[in-house]
Subunit: 227 residues, 2 copies
DNA sequence: CCGAGTTCTTGATTTAGATCAAGGGAAAAA
DNA sequence: TTTTTCCCTTGATCTAAATCAAGAACTCGG
């Protein structure tokens, strides 16, 4: 039953029936209510997770309570692997945004599996590499782009994830989005209305309509308005 | 001859003599002059590198010429692996900072090796995971800390890499350091003199003396001055 | 359908840091 | 040594974005 799901998870797809069976055998399904903590930063990690249903934010908090969201994981996304392969602690915290089902993979069992199934190892290397690519883009955004440029990049990224749709679902509150882009809700709100008045987007109830993709691409590329 | 070196590379150490021999067999040693391009962003990657001697900066550039340095690789560091395991292009550019010797590992040969040697696969997962942890810290710094906090974090990180020394070698120009911290040379210079006048550090010719580790740790943790 | 609690927007003000603009010093070349 | 070049520092100004402060608009439980 979960095997059918596992066969479609990025990083597990393309694996043999046999591999899938072994993966399923060691996995544990866990349900979480909205707002539950999956793990906290610095916690010892004895396994990693894959989202079956729902959403999980991966985040860091500063001593004065400000939050930086590193990633929002959706169905099919892996998280918490770093603690499995290196060090032992999670580099960030994880909390569900909505009621969610997660598959848990215990560390030792999964490491054993990798040891005997090179195809699984290669898949995991690929998953980690893609995450690395995304984090690289995030550092680039924060270091080189102004907030409007970061928002444009993010909207285009979302559109890509949603099959290139012009009408896209934000899937997170504006405040959370602000935390992902390294800014505040106030600033983000102003930039949304600026982009709207420029005719780049239209924005209503958690949905955004891309009206000028070219303009957004330019803004994302340049990192700021060029006029 | 390179085998001796390989045996000490993080990610390869701890492997059997046999594994090391196979790794050596597929590696190619390449020499680079200072300032040479190893690869450019978006280039197709047909392998990855390990620094034997020297230093390599991994960076992104914005259209208006500003540079964000993601990492400076030193002896023993791996780079360019993302292109081997996922996608095919390098997510950032790489250029030598000094005359450098690099070991190159061709994609297909290395993937084959991983397929037959699970221990190598686990080592690579560990290397990628550590990189992920570092990038996570970088995003946190950029999103949550002010420049003085980022500098403090970086100095402590360097000190750790240099066996906890109080006197540490920056190993890069102030301008490069500014690019690593997501700021400008002017701002960095001001912050160096501020930290000096507060008695936190002393600074001369590429060396920094940590005079108040507690103060720096506090600054790094808080992300800014608390007075 | 209504009220309580969020979350979002808009406005006024402040501020960290970028930018612009000269100097000053150390290293490399001559 | 002297000159050239590059990098670093210091100063003055400007600006993107944070912060502070109300309102307005959704959301949800009753």
């Amino acid at each position: 039953m979960t095997k059918k799901f596992i066969a479609q998870v990025p990083g597990f797809n393309g694996l043999s029936e046999e591999d899938l069976g072994k993966i399923e055998a060691i996995s544990v399904l866990r349900g979480f209510k909205k707002g539950e903590t999956v793990f906290v930063e610095e916690e010892e990690g004895n396994g990693f997770y894959v989202v079956v249903k729902g959403g999980v934010k991966i985040f860091k908090v500063s001593p004065d309570g400000k939050e930086a969201i590193l990633h929002i994981c959706r169905a099919g996304d892996h998280f918490g692997q770093v603690a499995v392969y290196a060090g032992k602690t999670f580099p960030a915290g994880a909390e569900t945004l909505v009621d969610s089902d997660l598959l848990f993979f215990p560390r030792q069992a999964f490491v054993n599996l990798i040891g005997s199934e090179p195809s699984v190892a290669l898949s995991m290397l690929s998953v980690l590499s893609m995450r690395l690519r995304e984090l690289t883009a995030q550092v680039e955004s924060l270091a080189l782009k102004e907030v409007p440029g970061r928002l444009a990049s993010y909207l285009l990224y979302l559109s890509e994830k949603q099959e290139g749709a012009e009408r896209l679902v934000l899937g997170s509150s504006k405040s959370q989005l602000a935390s992902m882009l390294g800014t505040t809700p106030e600033t983000l709100s102003r930039i949304f209305s600026d982009l709207s008045s420029r005719g780049f987007i239209r924005n209503s109830r958690g949905e955004v309509l891309l009206l000028n993709r070219q303009g957004l691409e330019n803004l994302a590329e340049q990192g700021r308005f060029t006029d």
